[in-house]
């Protein structure tokens, strides 16, 4: 069993190594990139499954990279929640890479294809690195790789809007990474170490909390930008809207989730209980406004992918608000929401990609009545929409249920109203799309065939997963429940 200990680091190193290998092998074989990336992703999936088994049986464990103990070396901290995230990353990553084989051939021109796969592998490797790292500076570096590769992936298609969106995303991203660095500096100056558990211990002895608060606040603001929560969400609609479909699936599914996961780490791991009540109340208010506004903007958007991006803003708001309830069901809700959002939203983006791949329609009113001519894709698309709209029997319902329960238990009527209204509005725009796709008569007489099997399979798997976790949420609880209890243990 000792080899399993190395798996987390390998999950970081292997994708990066393969990416570099692709660039080196580029001169001889052109189309090796897709095969290699699929293999690496399969490796990641298998290793995350192994890790899951180990963590479930023996609980979380610590791994010192290059054998130096924490205050000096870098420590990798694997607990149930990070394994849960790894699983998510592996699944979504594998699926979007399989999906992107056909899509990329059509969208990007020939030379760029291997670079696309390299960037995707970097993205996934860095996300894994970010999730498992136990050291803030290490987290910063992987955060950097993560955002660099996502900027370039957004701007890869090369048309004007994508570039603009990429640049805006870049500037926001750079500012957030600088905030992390600054925050890191403050925390280091006061605690002397960069390791999560060490910091948590030292913070308890600190008398004056102002420095550590500013440091932690800067970190949180950085993650707000990353997770596109309300006031700083301006870059997301264009970035995810204009990026190629598999990329926006990855971004919406994982990268935003990482933002929330980072927030959870900062709030629960490093600095539990450092915050005055007023800040938490202010922040919850901000996020609830975000939920409602995101849904309202989604209500009026015409371009399908931008609409889905808008809905990501409000959906991620759901996950973020769960974090700030500091209660058992709140965290359960936000974890489930991450799962739901990863699967359902990537299914939606891949579905939209399939439509664009086949017909080139981007606007909703061009897509009237497409449900009849592409029944299977639109069927899976509808399942994804149902999960976003938190219809019962989908895992969206389970997450909204827990979030609402947490809010009501603590008597936070403001956030209860926001969650309910957000749910209602998300139901509205989902059903608006469904009515537009299925029930309206198409005006243009363009002949449309069903999407190819290679695209349908990933879509089907994602749709199946949303339904599966909706009907049998116990499967998800096995991982989440003990993990949430662990985190809450830190809080005490």
């Amino acid at each position: 069993m000792s080899f399993v200990l190395h798996l987390p680091v390998l999950m970081v190193a292997v994708p990066i190594a393969v990416a570099v290998l692709i660039s080196v092998l580029l001169t001889f074989k052109r189309n090796i990139a897709f095969v290699l990336s699929v293999l690496t992703m399969i490796f990641c999936l298998i290793s995350s499954l192994f890790l899951m088994v180990k963590v479930i049986t023996e609980g979380s464990f610590v791994y010192y990279v290059s054998d130096w103990p924490p205050p000096w070396g870098i420590e990798i901290f694997i607990d149930r929640l990070s394994v849960y995230m790894l699983l998510l990353i592996a699944i979504v990553g594998l699926i979007s890479i399989i999906y992107s084989e056909l899509y990329i051939k059509k969208v990007l021109d020939h030379q760029k294809i291997p670079f696309y796969y390299m960037l995707v592998l970097f993205l996934i490797g860095s996300i894994v690195g970010f999730v498992i790292s136990g050291d803030i500076f290490n987290m910063f570096i992987f955060f950097e790789i993560l955002s660099l590769s996502s900027y370039s992936l957004v701007a890869i298609s090369g048309d004007r809007e994508a570039l603009r969106a990429g640049f805006r995303y870049l500037v926001m991203g750079i500012v957030s990474s600088l905030f992390i660095l600054l925050g890191l500096g403050f925390i280091y100056s006061v605690t002397g170490t960069l390791n999560f558990t060490q910091i948590a211990l030292r913070v308890k002895e600190l008398s004056d909390l102002t420095v550590i608060q500013t440091g932690a606040l800067l970190l949180i603001v950085a993650f707000i930008i990353e997770a596109a929560i309300f006031p700083l969400h301006v870059w997301l609609p264009k970035a995810h809207g204009k990026a190629p479909a598999p990329v926006s699936a990855l971004l919406s599914g994982l990268v935003i989730g990482i933002g929330v996961f980072g927030m959870i780490k900062v709030v629960y791991y490093i600095l539990p209980g450092v915050y005055p009540v007023s800040f938490v109340v202010f922040f919850r208010g901000l996020i609830s406004v975000g939920i409602i506004l995101g849904a309202i903007f989604a209500l009026f958007e015409n371009d399908l992918k931008i609409l889905l991006a808008q809905s990501s803003i409000s959906q991620i708001g759901f996950a973020a608000i769960g974090v700030f309830f500091f209660s058992y069901s709140g965290l359960m809700g936000s974890m489930l929401q991450l799962l739901n959002h990863a699967f359902a939203k990537s299914a939606l983006f891949l579905g939209a990609g399939a439509v664009i791949y086949k017909t080139g329609f981007r606007n909703l009113d061009e897509m009237k009545g497409i449900g009849k001519r592409m029944p299977i894709t639109m069927g899976f698309f509808a399942i994804g929409l149902a999960s976003i709209a938190s219809i019962p029997m989908t895992c969206g319902f389970v997450s909204k249920y827990y979030l609402c329960l947490a809010a009501i238990k603590q008597g936070l009527w403001g956030s209860v109203g926001a969650i309910l209204l957000g749910g209602f509005l998300s139901l509205l725009y989902c059903l608006r799309i469904i009515s537009c796709i299925f029930f309206e008569k198409p005006d243009s007489k363009v002949e449309v065939k069903e999407a190819p099997l290679k695209m349908l399979l990933p879509l089907g798997v994602l749709a199946f997963l949303t339904i599966f976790f909706g009907v049998f949420p116990r499967a998800a609880f096995v991982l989440i429940e003990p993990g949430v209890k662990e985190i809450l243990g830190f809080l005490r």
Binding site: Y151, A155, L170, V171, I174, S177, L181, L182, Y188, S189
Partner: protein
């Protein structure tokens, strides 16, 4: 407040430099000026980090016989790596800026 901040002059200067950089990013219309603003902010943070590791009368972290007090080497290593990150981000920003410039001026690829 004042006495303490006088002794931490380096930090105060870095904070002000950081805000100047921020102002450039937030206000300047041209992309290149924004990238320059980003660099200013980076340098401000590096100054701040180095300042944290400084020890009065400590020598640079090259171990030589006869000297006991050394400056804390960790922030310097952190700065070195952050520098390379800075290079990466600025390079990507420039790439995008160049590409944007070409697109805006109608130069089809």
């Amino acid at each position: 407040m004042l006495k303490a901040s006088f002794s931490n002059l380096i930090y105060v200067v870095s904070m002000i430099l950081f805000l100047i950089g921020f102002y450039a990013v937030a206000m300047r219309p041209s992309l290149i000026k924004k990238i320059i603003g980003i660099n200013i902010m980076e340098t401000a943070i590096f100054l701040f980090l180095i300042g944290i590791g400084n020890k009065k009368g400590g020598a640079s972290p090259l171990v030589v016989e006869g000297i006991e007090k050394y400056v804390n080497p960790f922030p310097q290593a952190m700065v070195l790596m952050a520098l390379v990150v800075g290079v990466g981000t600025t390079a990507l920003a420039l790439i995008l800026a160049v590409r944007l410039f070409e697109c805006e001026n109608g130069e089809k690829r």
